[in-house]
Point group: C2
Chain length 190, copies 2
């Protein structure tokens, strides 16, 4: 755990998760356009996490040993990949798709070691079981304002907890960053 | 969702979870001594949640239709039932038992309808997979102060997230209250 950690993301939830486990880190958000060349969700999140980390690696000079962390999260359900909803209508359609069934949340994470240039990209999957929701419950949930900036149009750490039956996998992966994977990687990367 | 909800617990985490999903409720903490007559963890948490709810039901008059909610959480690992640690030595022994293996968290919840006297007791189980931890990591974790007021000597919602590999079940059950079960019960109890 000797290296400086750089989070290539402006997501407040990712920042909070790293703070929660007591890690010290800096934030240098990636700003580049995301280019998707895949249709498989695992390939998509790995590709985008790599693009984010690589942008910071190539555009900065690092004078101390650092590890850059890029991350990207999507929801996949019935062969659809769900990112952030465009508007409330889009959020409604996403939540109608997710209610009463099981979906997967994928987060791709890429580590780049600035000393060696070594790149390590992984993907973490969590299965999420959602209770049936009525249209009224979906409308009421959208009114909380939670869905609009979140992949799949829900926040498991907010009001939507009322509708989560169970998960199989890492909870924080659904929030947006599998922090235990990050901790275990840094611990073993000496 | 028309009834008044009464939480028979002073646990700040249970209060926060009910607030998180936007429920209105009152708190009337149970204060009676907990009497355990079982050795099976499921029977223990069901019994204790019933005692807590029953204490409030029998010691108060209810002028509005209410549902009383009692809850109790334990950790079970290798045939041991773990409650809150007595001291840091006890916490160390619990965490040594949990590291590198899988344990179960059980929360018993009892609902009592004050109009009908109907009692409903359920148990929710979540499997938790913990990464291997060195003695130094356990010491450092105990130094955060998190373990002392928590069943099994850890808080999944705190620093301990660094050591959680995955879960199978309800996350909030591990925090101390399966709030989705509470919401779904109240929604269907008309």
């Amino acid at each position: 755990m000797i290296k400086n950690l750089i989070l290539a993301s402006s997501s407040p939830r990712r920042r909070e998760l790293l703070e929660q486990i007591g890690l010290q880190f800096e934030i240098i958000p990636s700003v580049g356009e995301e280019v998707i060349s895949h249709t498989d969700p695992i390939a998509v999140v790995k590709e985008l996490s790599l693009q984010k980390a690589m942008e910071i690696y190539q555009s900065h000079h690092f004078y101390t040993s650092s590890v850059i962390l890029g991350a990207d999260t999507v929801v996949a359900c019935h062969n659809h990949i769900l990112g952030k909803p465009k508007d409330t209508h889009d959020a409604f359609q996403m939540l109608q798709m997710l209610q009463g069934t099981i979906h997967s949340v994928y987060t791709g994470i890429t580590f780049i070691n600035t000393d060696t240039g070594k790149i390590d990209t992984q993907c973490c999957q969590t299965l999420v079981h959602v209770y049936p929701m009525s249209d009224v419950e979906i409308f009421e949930y959208i009114k909380t304002g939670e869905p609009m900036d979140k992949a799949g149009a829900y926040g498991i750490q907010g009001h939507f907890a009322a509708f989560i039956k169970k998960i199989d996998g890492d909870y924080n992966n659904v929030v947006g960053l599998p922090v235990s994977l990050v901790y275990q990687y840094l611990k073993n990367d000496r």
